[in-house]
Symmetry: C2
């Protein structure tokens, strides 16, 4: 048996894909602080501050606001598994990969799912949700994706929220790619359940999933007639560990907790409004540059922090991504599902959202595409982006 | 909204509880290396090496050997959720908290569970498993806990394995507290499914759950008639990410992956046999010292790496633990369930298992208990432990 393995020496990437985003030296240093036990009074104090910081970024006073011990998908399944009981009718908007994932989870937890579909890259028409609610008046939950990571589409939520609540349903929102980058207001928009991740807008490493539940959602969960099908994701158990009871459920990773805390602290220091503006400003510059290169956006309503563009004619998709990675250390995202080979997803999230990175990725794309024989106007991208930054 | 939160400055504990164990500076430094994307070729190479290292510590050639993105309990639920289909008969040995947890999970995933019980602190009699198998010949899975973290009991597995297989059942083993400390041989002992954690014998931070499945268990999972109830823990999806297909499932935490890799590398460097011997030797010294202090072990068959002793008359349980923490920075574990207030659980696992820590915890206990008026013979504990170390 081989027992001699190499020392770790990972490359220093610039993470401009759909996540993870760049993790700052400050967050990495926080994560490497000495491990505390999951019931150490010092760690419990950090959890309490983390809850307050999560409430801040979610813009909510929800008491049931915690970080689940898993990735964003564990956050999705936490929401679905706890809100849904077998036989419950659920409406889910599907216009990309992650809406479809929510459907699959809801089915596994016993829901009768009614899909409201739109083509990939588009958003869900609130009127279609309204019609589905009229067709299925017993609907318990309406689920939509705020930021569809597979297409870059930015879904407005307020109208859907009003429709769901008028029909007596709860609103469940996927904010995996929006939290910390894009305006998101749990209380103002009456979102009942929301999940996200640690590694995009919050620029911590992956591994934790912030979730938040309105008092109405918490009541619904409390009144369940059946046990949640997943023990690991059962909020009635996990929330007791986050409560003053501190009942042991799982061994929380204090080091991941430090990283999330530090990432959240950096969000709070910058200010949520300023942070949203930063993402919008950099998006405008990046967009001007990408369009000057001749690249077209896939979604009509693009997220600022995740830019999905069509792979241009004459470009070899895997080769472009490989050259970005090998020559520049830049990671961008490939297309998923029907967009495989047809889309690039360029993320500027959290710590990755800098003028330096915008100019670099534009320059690198111009160089690689030109080298590949794609007709790109020389210097136009940098000029266009610089013009936005200067304005 | 308060946005000013303190800089992290966690205390440097000595972790002598039931987990997490001490994380070395080397592992913490590895974890803080630059974050890689979950599909970065460099990270995929680290995953491949991690699988080989996990096979090494599990002593198996099982192809389906991976690290699940959650804590040890997520590993438990992964095994249960994937092996069990609704209506399946399952036999589970219960002589502590974690056997009971396995029962609860199996029920949530639809199993008809037959418990084989023993009092807390004892082990499961293989003959009782044999009788249960005779009573329930359709049993699909027998689940037992190798190292019962709540009681410190060390369960022998070989006889139970033979009985399970003779009856056509698969053997599922909880090795959360044994992997990397105590002899554990998946292939030699014909264990079909096994789960553990990153933060005990492997001395990495919590957050990942090594699991391994025999070819027979993998076949069983492949032939399921129903979907696994948890999407996040569905091996048919997660294993495709670990396979050469690299199909996206979740955003793996590269930083946690680095820490696990480095912890495993340290195990391989030391050698598994040497590591087991180290735990046995330090256990003998600790045991001699604890018994010299007048403390008695709860389980007849104690794990070497987790030492559960009775709280002595005259000692104030929470006060002793608080003083160990505040005066010495030492964390030990409290009793769980029926042992609450009655037991201390002293772990010497992985990087925590040193002569320095054994002598320190004995000295600290002697000082605190003496100060509290418990009759402890002066110097006897250190003398007894030193004698073992010198032998």
């Amino acid at each position: 048996m081989k027992t001699d393995y190499p020392e770790l020496n990972p490359a220093e990437r610039i993470l401009l894909g759909p996540g993870p985003s760049d993790v700052s030296a400050r967050v990495l240093a926080a994560m490497a602080k000495p491990t505390l036990g999951h019931l150490d009074p010092e760690y419990l104090a950090i959890m309490d501050d983390t809850r307050r910081l999560l409430q801040h970024v979610f813009r909510t006073t929800n008491e049931l606001t915690i970080a689940m011990p898993g990735t964003g998908s564990a956050g999705m399944e936490t929401c679905v598994a706890n809100l849904v009981e077998p036989g419950d009718e659920v409406i889910i908007g599907v216009c990309g990969y992650f809406g479809a994932r929510m459907v699959e989870m809801a089915e596994r937890h016993g829901a009768a799912v009614h899909r409201v579909e739109a083509p990939w890259g588009e958003i869900i028409d609130p009127a279609a949700i309204g019609r589905a609610l009229a067709d299925h008046p017993a609907t318990k939950v309406v689920g939509v994706v705020h930021a569809e990571t597979s297409t870059g589409a930015h879904q407005p939520l307020e109208e859907i929220s009003a429709l769901a609540h008028a029909a007596g349903a709860l609103l469940l929102v996927d904010a995996v790619t929006s939290l910390g980058c894009v305006e998101l207001r749990l209380d103002d928009w009456a979102i009942d359940a929301c999940y996200s991740c640690s590694q995009k807008g919050l620029s911590s490493p992956p591994g934790l999933a912030p979730v938040s539940f309105s008092p109405m959602a918490a009541e619904r969960i409390k009144g369940r007639k059946s046990r949640v099908r997943s023990w690991y994701l059962d909020l009635s158990l996990v929330s007791r560990y986050w409560s003053s009871d501190r009942v042991y459920h799982h061994t929380a990773s204090s080091n991941l907790g430090y990283a999330l805390y530090e990432g959240l602290r950096m969000v709070a220091e910058e200010g949520l409004d300023a942070r949203q503006t930063r993402h919008l400003d950099h998006h405008r510059a990046l967009r001007a540059g990408l369009e000057a290169l001749g690249l077209s956006y896939i979604p009509e309503r693009s997220l600022p922090n995740l830019n999905a563009v069509r792979v241009p004619d004459g470009a070899d998709d895997p080769d472009v991504r490989k050259r970005l990675l090998n020559e520049y250390g830049i990671e961008i995202g490939a297309g998923l599902g029907p967009f495989a080979g047809k889309a690039w997803r360029i993320g500027i999230m959290g710590s990755s959202c800098t003028q330096r990175n915008v100019i670099l990725v534009l320059g690198a794309l111009e160089s690689i595409l030109g080298d590949m024989g794609v007709a790109v106007p020389k210097g136009a991208a940098i000029t266009a982006a610089s013009g936005v930054f200067a304005s």
